[in-house]
Structures are given as structure tokens and as C-alpha cells.
């Protein structure tokens, strides 16, 4: 390798294990991986790669979103016309738009499944409690990003979904009306609302998300994946006695802190393989699969674009985006329960979960028998929310009356 190449990559194409380890830690992009990784967390069933897929989708959404911004005008009715242009005039515009839309929907689903995986493997327990809270915030941010993006096409679907959605927000006690006014930038959905949603969708929320993803991934890197510690060696005798030899201490940001259990000394070398190629090539494979699936879906299925938003004509039924249809189904029974009490309780329960369930058993295994109660309750809630979403999506027709989807 010549001098210029070495000034960029430091290490050439690594041939030996030593160089492969050095490559992982000398690159800013690769060093979110450890140099060596437990064989157990590499099995596809350990994580189902759902966190990785969420990250890939965020990347795809950023790239396609930036491209779409070059044609999209955030001012009605030009916004609707620019959507039509993307669909019929711009070369490959329809593919990029489809990919952005389906990736957005997929990200909501994958982030939700990722949360389910972390629960079912008990991975939110110490020392990962706070990272679970960061993850819950990321789920909320994902929903907020999808919701703000929903208005941008400015068609009937967008307008009325956001009408229903922002009215649900208006049910918040005390601040509801003011919150809605602030979201809409007025009393009704208009150009001001579109601009606000546009800026939130394209700048503020993605920036916040990028920061939180960095924090989330950094903490995963520091704490290790939860499957690994099951196979870790027992702590050295001095540590068990409360004496920490210098080699187990590390300099944290705030103070000298104890090195995490998954540090090099605490791990079983026979359990580990080098991240390059074992982890890296698996990641590339998953990335490839996701990109292929997204391309096929985007070429086959068209993103919906209805007629231009018409504030005078309410479609029947008017539905929120699909991931809020479970809430809308509840709102159909009681606005206060579905719009305020249930969402607040869900978020409060999710955030406080790792601080309530402090038992250290059943970490890193799917459906550990010690966690039968927690898993049963959580699974029941997941099934109820999926059932409500399916009912709201497929079984509700005009006047929100029950219909059979095949009828």
C-alpha cells in the first residue's frame, strides 16, 4: 500500500487476525464493533438482527429523504403537485418515494419488534436499564418521524390522518389545546402546519434521533450484548471480595469507574471469534438482504397518493396512520381513555420497567422460565395492541362500523 493509502486507512486490507483486530479499532466507523465478539450473540436467533435492521432503515430513510427534498416544496398546494411530479415526471422519483414510504412503515414495525425481542430475552436488566429507556425514546421518535412525514404529501389521506392524530393529542389534560395550537401553528391544518411538520420531519427529529442512536449503540458497545455474559467466566476472586486490581479499572467520562463485566478479562476467550470477518460479514449480508427486499417492494407496490387535501370533505371513514389505529380504536370507545390514559400508562410503564423488575435472572435467553409472569403480561399486551391495530385497519368501515375485510 502506498503512502497516501496508508494515510487514509492506516492499515491495509487485513490478512492476519492481529491486523483485523487493529482494523476494527482504528476506524471511526468500524470501532462501534468490538475486536472480538461472542459466538453466542452471533447466532441469528440471539437478536434476529432487528436493531441492525432499524439502523439500516434509518440510513436508507436519510438518503432517500435527502433526495426527495430536492423536489419537494413544503407549501400547499405546490406540495401536492411536487408529489405528483415525483410520481410521474421525475426519473426514478416514484421508486425513491416508494422506498422512503415503505422504509418508514417498516422502521415503525422493526423498532417495535426490536423492543419485543429485548423484552423477551430479558435484555433490559442491569446494567442496561438506561439503554432500554433510550430505546423507548427512540421508538417514540420513530413514531413522531413517521407521523410528521405523513402530512407532507398533502393528499386526503395525509390531511385527515393528521386531523385525527392531532385531535387525539388535543385530548391531553390542561395543555391539550395549547399543544395542538403549537403543533398546527394555528387553529386549523394549513401552510403553517405543513412547514412545522416539514422542519420537524427533515431536520429536528432526525438530528435528535441520530444523537440518541449514537448513545444507544455506544452503550450497547460498552455493555456488550446480553447473550454473551451468560457464557462469561466468573469474576476473579479479588473482585468478588470487593477489591479491584488496577487492571479492572477504566477511566470513565465522570470518574475512575469499574470496567464492565464484559471487559476482556471477564470473557471466555474460547467463546469468542474475531469481529472481522464473523460479525462484519453477517452485517453486510443483512444489509444486502434489507436493500434487496426494499428495492423489490418499492418496484412492485406503489405508495398511495389520493386526491389533493380538501378540508371541506371528510372521507368516510377517516383513519389515522396504521400504527395509531389501535389508539383510534380505543378512542372510538372513550376519547380520554384511548387518547390520554392508555398512551400515558404505556410510556410510563415502559420507562419504569427496568427499575421495577430488578431481578437478575433470565438475562440473555428467550422466554426464560424464571420470567414467566413478566413475559406473559408483556406478550398479552403486545397481542392486544396488534389485535386493536388490525381491527382498526381492516375491520372498520364507514362510520367506524364493523366490516369484514373480505366482504
Amino acid at each position: 500500500m502506498n503512502a497516501v493509502g496508508r494515510s487514509i486507512w492506516r492499515i491495509g486490507w487485513p490478512v492476519t487476525d492481529k491486523d483485523r483486530a487493529a482494523a476494527m479499532i482504528s476506524s471511526i466507523f468500524l470501532h462501534i464493533h468490538p475486536a472480538r465478539v461472542s459466538r453466542h450473540v452471533l447466532r441469528p436467533t440471539a437478536t434476529l438482527a432487528l436493531g441492525l435492521i432499524s439502523g439500516i432503515l434509518f440510513l436508507v430513510l436519510s438518503v432517500t429523504g435527502l433526495a426527495l427534498m430536492l423536489y419537494y416544496v413544503p407549501y400547499p398546494p405546490e406540495s401536492y403537485r411536487s408529489m405528483k411530479d415525483l410520481q410521474f415526471v421525475v426519473t426514478f422519483g416514484i421508486v425513491l418515494r416508494n422506498m422512503h414510504r415503505w422504509s418508514g412503515h417498516a422502521m415503525v414495525a422493526v423498532v417495535f419488534l426490536h423492543m419485543c425481542r429485548v423484552f423477551w430475552t430479558g435484555s433490559y436488566k442491569a446494567p442496561r436499564e438506561f439503554n432500554w429507556v433510550v430505546g423507548v425514546t427512540l421508538l417514540i421518535l420513530t413514531l413522531a418521524l413517521s407521523f410528521t412525514g405523513y402530512l407532507l404529501p398533502w393528499d386526503q389521506l395525509a390531511y385527515w390522518a393528521i386531523t385525527v392524530g392531532t385531535n387525539i393529542a388535543g385530548y391531553a389534560p390542561l395543555v391539550g389545546d395549547r399543544l395542538k395550537f403549537l403543533m398546527l401553528g394555528g387553529h386549523v391544518i394549513g401552510p403553517m402546519t405543513l412547514l412545522r411538520f416539514y422542519v420537524l420531519h427533515c431536520v429536528m427529529l432526525p438530528l435528535l434521533m441520530l444523537m440518541l442512536i449514537s448513545l444507544h449503540v455506544w452503550r450497547v458497545r460498552k455493555d456488550g450484548l446480553s447473550g454473551a455474559e451468560v457464557h462469561a467466566l466468573p469474576a476473579p476472586a479479588e473482585e468478588a471480595a470487593g477489591v479491584f486490581p488496577a487492571s479492572t479499572k477504566t477511566h470513565g467520562l465522570m470518574a475512575l469507574s469499574r470496567r464492565p463485566r464484559s471487559s476482556v478479562e471477564a470473557r471466555d476467550p474460547n467463546d469468542e471469534v474475531f469481529a472481522w470477518p464473523h460479525l462484519l460479514f453477517r452485517e453486510l449480508l443483512v444489509t444486502l438482504a434489507v436493500v434487496v427486499v426494499l428495492h423489490v417492494v418499492s418496484l412492485v407496490f406503489m405508495a398511495p397518493l389520493e386526491e389533493m387535501a380538501d378540508p371541506l370533505r371528510t372521507p368516510n371513514p377517516a383513519k389515522a396512520p396504521w400504527y395509531f389505529l389501535g389508539l383510534q380504536e380505543l378512542v372510538h370507545y372513550s376519547a380520554l381513555v384511548g387518547g390520554v390514559i392508555v398512551p400515558t400508562l404505556i410510556v410510563a410503564a415502559l420507562v419504569s420497567l427496568p427499575y421495577i423488575d430488578r431481578r437478575k435472572t433470565g438475562i440473555g435467553r428467550w422466554f426464560a422460565p424464571e420470567r414467566r409472569l413478566a413475559n406473559t403480561v408483556f406478550t398479552a399486551l403486545v397481542i392486544i395492541s396488534i389485535a386493536l391495530t388490525i381491527i382498526g385497519t381492516l375491520f372498520r368501515g364507514p362510520n367506524w362500523a364493523w366490516v369484514w375485510p373480505w366482504a
Binding site: V164, N167, L182, H187, M192, L312, T314, P317, H332, N399
Partner: protein, 152 residues
């Protein structure tokens, strides 16, 4: 002054400085939050002219779609009821017996009171007045009760 007293003074000045920076930051954040609340709305006016009383025959119910409003001319006077469902903001339809929301099946009686469905509140009633030029004026910022009638 001794070394210690200078040190103490320096810490005190530093403390005051920190409080000052904190207050300035809080003020700046408050100002930014206030900035988010628009002062001028480029929306249809909340108080508007809907025409002369003669345009509304007695006993009629007129739907003004762009105003989201039903205007009634009953035996004892004029009144206006919002067509925006209090549940999630869909536009209700006037039927013989009252109002129906297409979105979530709420039903209201002829006075806009909830008969059935998830709507938490009756439909809004707005004050109707007569301008000096004998035009009917509706004010969306002035809610009234279902006993309201404008005698024309």
C-alpha cells in the same frame, strides 16, 4: 488582602457569573419557546359575515362547508352550530333528527347534544349577531349555549 480571601472572592464572582449565565440561558429558552407561538395567523378570520338574513329562509338548515358551520333559521330566531365533531375533528352531516359523524359513529340531536358514540362534548354553538349593515355575523371565538337565538 490575603491569598485566601482573594481566592474566596474569585469563587464568589465565578458563582455569580454561573447564576447569570444560567438565568440568561433560561431566558433564552423561554424566548425561543414563545417564538414558536405565532402572533399572526394567515387563516380565515374567526369572525365573519355569512350574508343577509333573507338568504336563510325560515325553518331552514344551511350548511356552509368552507366555514364548517350549520346555520339555522328557526321559528324563534337564528343560531349557528359547528359541523366539526368534538371527537376527532371530522365534519358531521345534518340528518333529519340531528347530526352524524362519519368517522367514529358519533350521533348528536338537533341541538348538537351527544346521543351516541365517542364524542365527549356537544357540538359547539357560536354567537350570531347582526351587523349595522344588516348582515349576519358569526364569531367562532364566542361560544354560546343551546338556548341562544338571534331574533331577526
Amino acid at each position: 488582602m490575603t491569598e485566601d480571601r482573594i481566592d474566596l472572592l474569585r469563587r464568589r464572582i465565578f458563582g455569580i457569573g454561573c447564576v447569570g449565565i444560567g438565568a440568561a440561558t433560561a431566558g433564552f429558552l423561554a424566548a425561543t419557546f414563545r417564538f414558536l407561538v405565532p402572533n399572526v395567523l394567515y387563516e380565515p378570520s374567526r369572525r365573519f359575515d355569512i350574508g343577509s338574513p333573507a338568504q336563510f329562509p325560515s325553518g331552514s338548515a344551511t350548511f356552509l362547508p368552507d366555514r364548517h358551520l350549520y346555520v339555522f333559521n328557526s321559528a324563534d330566531g337564528f343560531f349557528a352550530i359547528s359541523s366539526t365533531c368534538t371527537h376527532l375533528g371530522c365534519t358531521v352531516r345534518h340528518t333529519g333528527a340531528g347530526f352524524e359523524c362519519p368517522c367514529h359513529g358519533s350521533r348528536f340531536d338537533e341541538n348538537g347534544l351527544v346521543v351516541q358514540g365517542p364524542a365527549p362534548q356537544p357540538l359547539a354553538w357560536y354567537a350570531v349577531s347582526l351587523s349595522p349593515r344588516a348582515q349576519l355575523i358569526v364569531d367562532l371565538d364566542q361560544s354560546v349555549g343551546p338556548e341562544f337565538r338571534l331574533r331577526a
